[in-house]
Symmetry: C2
Subunit: 248 residues, 2 copies
């Protein structure tokens, strides 16, 4: 902070890493790059930053910088912030819903006229998410963290309603059939518990590692999945048992 330092600072001033400006390109429609590539880059960056900082904490400038795109390109492609957010969620929720619905369809076909086994319902709903989040793909991992973060917030609830309620309803109908005698509210509470546990598992907060006393070896996604499925299935079955006992 003396009077001498400025000259030293100035010596480096010729190479100020362009504040956050992406590799300078010419304005106008670019030659090789398709619009879809740019859009995907923006969505990937937005997914990452929304997951890290939350909806309100995320700055569109940071998204643009991470996507190596000019700020206005974000608004141009996706409109206002909330629309970008919705698009980020929609991209993968569509895939997730498809996986779940086709699994449900197969389970329904296999069960014939009878109820689908509870364990099958639990596994079919949970596994697409847990396995996507657990496998290598960093995009899905980020998405899972984002969904976990969203879980109990008003905005999150609204978005989850838009993108996940249809599938949830389809599964709930089967859960009800597989849990005869269990009151509606309990079925839903069980389903909510299952979803909450699933999201918590995949959010990857680091708390489990912190709470573990001795350092343990690697834990595979399928280990996590199996434990979760067993745990939640037993929970549902307890509701069923209790309902049957209360009939008498």
């Amino acid at each position: 902070m003396t009077e001498n330092t400025p000259s030293l600072e100035n010596a480096f001033e010729e190479t100020p890493p362009p504040p956050q400006r992406p590799a300078r390109r010419k304005p106008g429609r670019p030659k090789g790059i398709s619009s879809d590539e740019t859009r995907a880059r923006i969505l990937d960056a937005a997914e990452r930053i929304f997951a890290d900082e939350g909806y309100d904490g995320a700055a569109l400038r940071d998204v643009a910088a991470a996507a190596e795109v000019q700020l206005h390109a974000v608004g141009y492609h996706f409109g206002p912030k909330e629309a970008l957010f919705d698009t980020v969620i929609a991209r993968r929720s569509a895939i997730m819903s498809e996986l779940r619905m086709s699994a449900l369809k197969a389970a329904r076909a296999a069960a014939g006229a009878g109820p689908i086994p509870i364990g099958t319902l639990v596994r079919d709903y949970i596994s697409p998410f847990v396995l996507s989040a657990g496998r290598g793909d960093p995009g899905w991992r980020t998405y899972a963290a984002l969904m976990g973060r969203l879980a109990n917030s008003p905005l999150g609830t609204e978005i989850i309603a838009r993108h996940y309620d249809a599938t949830a309803r389809a599964y709930l109908e089967e859960f009800r059939r597989s849990l005869p005698g269990v009151v509606e509210a309990d079925v839903i509470e069980g389903f909510s518990a299952m979803v909450a546990a699933m999201l918590g598992l995949c959010a990857d907060t680091g708390r489990p590692e912190r709470l573990a006393e001795g350092a343990r070896g690697h834990r595979s996604p399928t280990d996590n999945l199996d434990t979760l499925v067993n745990f939640q299935t037993a929970g549902f079955q307890a509701l069923l048992t209790l309902a049957k006992n209360q009939e008498d």
Copy 2:
């Protein structure tokens, strides 16, 4: 938008509700009010607004307005935003931890040398939170919503570590004892599932009501609690059963 309207607008301009200024008071240390009262009012308002808007979404100005206090009073009493947030959490987490630890102590005494029943552990951990959130007190309800919101975020994880990990460790030690043969990672995964379900239940997002097909009657906090305890207890017991079967 015509040229005539301004006069009409001006007609109302004499009563602009003081933008957001609280009932004007004289500067200086006030007569009747103690500093603790002011602090409590600020904490209540902050709790509410953090729960509604999230940490980043909450504006200290709104907190001050809701507490009917000048903006600077917030910083004066609690320092920077993050310190205020931490104080909001600390206030009730201290009570919560006390309730849980004394319940655990009683359970330990009742169990003598043997393991505490799993159902007891689950109920003792869950019920202080669920009942506090479910009873009339709006402050606890707000707090529960806030905790749910925090659950899977980085800041939330950090704060939860500071205020809840000690109690969690104490319970985990007993869970381990009551679940002999179950691998550490599974015990923790079960515990995490339990906590996630608990938070989700109390966050009061409105999703359960939305997913319920027919409109049903009122559901008491104890109904919710009983179902949750049964569900989670059965989950833990399934881990135990599985571990025993795998021994053979």
